[in-house]
Every structure is written in C-alpha cells, then in structure tokens.
C-alpha cells in the first residue's frame, strides 16, 4: 500500500468514525481534510481516485448536514422569540405568573444579621441627631420650650394650619383658570421638604372633601380637581419617592 493510499484511508476512517461517535456534523474537520486532500492529489495515482472520491462524497454529506442544522437552529430561535412575544401579549397576569412558576426553582437561603450589618446600624444610629440638649453641667430634668423642641427636630417650626391655608388658596387660584391641574404642579414647593409638606396638606384637604385626586392610568399621571359633594370617597396612593418637579 502506497503512502498516499494509506493516508487517504486514514482520513476516510476519521470522517466515518467521527460521524459514528457523535451526530454533531461540526465535529468533522472539513476544511483541514479538504486542504490535505488538495496537497495529496498531485501525488495520487489512478488507483487512489476512488478513495479520494469517497472522502469527498462523505464531506459533501457532512456539509449538507451542517446546513440543515443551522437552518433548524435558526428556525427554533425565531419560533422561540415569537412564542415569547405572544405570551407577553396574550396571557393574563395569572397565566404569566403560572408560566414563570413552572420554570422557576428559587434559591433558598436563611437571612441573618451579619457583623457588617450590625456595624452599619451602629454607624447610622451614631450619626442621627441626638434628641437631647447638651448641658455642660451634665443631665438635667426640666420642661423645654417649643423653640428648643423645634431645634431638636421634634416639632416643626411651621404651623400646619398655615400650610393648609396656603395650599388651599393656591389650588383654588389654579382651578379658577382650569378644571384640573397636575398633581405635581399643585404640590410643588421651594424645596423637597416643602413639596412633601404640601402633598401632606393636599391629602388632608382631599380627605375633607375640598379637592379630589384623580389618577389617569393611560398617562400614568395624577391630577387634582375640586371636590364633588356627596361623591364616593376613594383612597389614592401617590408615590412620592421621586419628586422630580420640586425646585431642589
């Protein structure tokens, strides 16, 4: 047996063995084997040609299977994406939750307080404003004034009735020109604290029935309008986490 014939038989054996061991057509070294065949061809005799043709036939078969695999994979991927979008569009909340639960195996863990968390808590408590007046001689038991309580942050310096009047006047003025005003325009203050205070005052006025807070789910927007006499009272939750319209 010549050197070329021997090598050709080895290559054919490699192709057949690779396909036998694994159905994955990408495991066959198609490019390398073709390169080697082209190098062997000038040295090959007429008697080697059937072997060469057999290898080429097997490689053509491998390439065809690679093409099929790619088309199948792309089809499955596109179908998966279509399924995903259809599910988002068509399933209701309960069905979506069930779909998730069927494929969900949540992590299990035990919560506990760590040393780091204890240190963080101590830092937080240490940095808080102290609820006591510093007295040089030591501790003293006595009544403190409103001003001192305001200085300690226990009482606000602002009078709630004044805030209520201010918000009421401002809203009535705004509603004299239009039927509804945006919630954030209604409560907007000079700083974040004043905005929160205005929002608190407005919630009190709405509870008294003087104004009404309406939520528009389409625009995800809150509005304020005049209260309706005899209207059905409803509770409205207005998230104040992101106050983006205040002056600060």
């Amino acid at each position: 047996m010549g050197r070329v014939e021997s090598r050709l038989r080895e290559l054919l054996e490699e192709v057949l063995e690779t396909l036998r061991v694994s159905p994955d057509p990408f495991r066959v070294r198609v490019r390398e084997i073709l390169d080697e065949l082209s190098r062997l061809l000038p040295e090959a005799g007429l008697e080697d040609m059937p072997l060469d043709a057999e290898i080429l036939f097997r490689l053509a078969e491998v390439v065809r299977r690679q093409g099929e695999w790619i088309m199948g994979e792309a089809g499955a991927m596109a179908l998966g994406r279509l399924f995903a979008l259809l599910k988002v569009k068509l399933l209701n909340n309960h069905e979506l939750a069930l779909q998730l639960l069927e494929s969900w195996r949540p992590i299990v863990e035990l919560e506990q307080v760590t040393f780091t968390e204890i240190m963080r808590a101590l830092d937080y408590l240490g940095s808080r404003r102290r609820r006591a007046l510093a007295v040089e001689e030591g501790w003293e038991l006595r009544a403190i004034s409103r001003e001192e309580m305001a200085a300690l942050g226990v009482l606000s310096k602002r009078k709630l009735s004044e805030v209520l009047d201010k918000v009421r006047r401002r809203l009535l003025h705004m509603l004299s020109a239009q039927d509804v005003v945006r919630y954030w325009e209604a409560v907007k203050g000079a700083d974040r604290y004043e905005t929160y205070l205005n929002a608190y005052a407005l919630s009190h006025l709405a509870s008294l029935g003087e104004f009404e807070v309406i939520y528009d789910p389409l625009e995800d927007e809150y509005y304020v309008t005049r209260g309706v006499e005899g209207g059905e009272p409803v509770s409205v939750v207005v998230p104040l986490g992101l106050v983006k319209y205040d002056a600060s």
Binding site: H94, L101, S103, I107
Partner: protein
C-alpha cells in the same frame, strides 16, 4: 454513590450554603474547599442526599449562571441551594411574591429573551406599561433589579444572574417544549421526551 461523609462536615456544609453571608447568595467552590477539605464535592453530594428529603438541592453554576455537573474542578463555581421542584402559587405568595409582581418578572424575561437577552430600559418599560397599569410598576422593576433578576448596563436592561440561575428560560419561552425538545420532535428523534 457518594462516599461516606462525617455528619459534622455535612452540618458545616449546610450552614455554609444556607446562611447568607453577603449581599449575593451562594458560596464559591474554593470557599467550600477551604472549609470542608479537598473532598468538598463528596460532601456536597452527600448533603444533596440529605436535602432531597426536604425538596432542596445544591447546584453549582458558572459565572453565566449555567448549571455545572458536580464533577471536576469547581473551585471557581458558585454553589447554591435551590428548590428541587417549582413552588406552587400559594408558596410563592407565602414567600412575599404578588401575582402581579411575578407577571412583571415573567413579561420582562420573555421580552428580553425575544430581544436576544437585552433591551433599552425605555423599551422594556414601554412594553410593561402597555400591559400593567399599576402605579407600582416602577417600584417592582427596581425591586427586580435589586434582587438580581434583572440587571442594568447603562441604558440597557439585561437578564440578571439570578434569573439565569433560578429560571429555566428555555422552558419559560417554549409552549410546553424547550427549544431542544422542539428540535428533537421536528427531527423525529426517538429520544425526544415531550414535557407538558
């Protein structure tokens, strides 16, 4: 069959794996090896036998959240305890999940899967707003990001590490069939097992 493991090592492994020691759950393989010794994988396998009774399982995942076989060098892998079977809807509620929040998570994952795993935050929020009218929506999405189910990369939202670990995304997307099962059924391969 796992090797016989001293019960003290099992208890130690259970404490390491179940108690949360940092913000992200799980223990690295090298941490287990340091605490349990060179045969830490045998200890984990033995612990798995004990946890099976409780419906729990120790799994190892790589950096991408892919499950790894409990073989070979897993010092860089992350070890976690997960439920062996999916929770019921009642169990999810007991654990503090609302149906609406689960639906938001499912929709987010499905939409991101359809977009190849990532999408601009504005696009995702647009899709979610068209489905969920709740004023809690932004809060829920922020919570999912905080818990690791979704991740932010600049203005993009991507599927979070926790979703990759906990959720069988192929199963979530497929209509009863995973893409692999679907492909097998298309080819008529006999080993195709059609799950419900």
């Amino acid at each position: 069959m796992p090797a016989r493991v001293p019960s003290a090592k099992l208890r130690k492994a259970a404490r390491l794996l179940l108690y949360r020691s940092r913000s992200k759950p799980g223990v690295k393989g090298w941490e287990l090896a340091r605490a349990l010794g060179r045969d830490y994988l045998e200890v984990v396998k033995a612990l798995n036998n004990v946890l099976e009774v409780l419906g729990l399982e120790v799994v190892a995942v790589d950096g991408e959240g892919r499950r790894l076989d409990l073989e070979g060098d897993l010092r860089r892998a992350l070890f976690l305890v997960v439920l062996r079977e999916p929770p019921s809807i009642q169990e999810a509620k007991t654990a503090g999940w609302r149906i609406d929040d689960l639906a938001v998570l499912a929709s987010s994952l499905l939409y991101l899967m359809a977009r190849g795993g990532r999408a601009p935050r504005s696009d995702l929020m647009g899709v979610l707003r068209s489905r969920f009218r709740s004023p809690r929506l932004s809060y829920v999405v922020e919570r999912l990001i905080r818990l690791g189910y979704l991740e932010e990369e600049g203005d993009q939202v991507v599927i979070g590490w926790r979703s990759r670990v906990e959720v069988d995304l192929d199963r979530l997307v497929g209509v009863g069939l995973t893409p692999k099962e679907w492909r097998q059924s298309q080819r008529g391969e006999p080993e195709a097992s059609l799950s419900s």
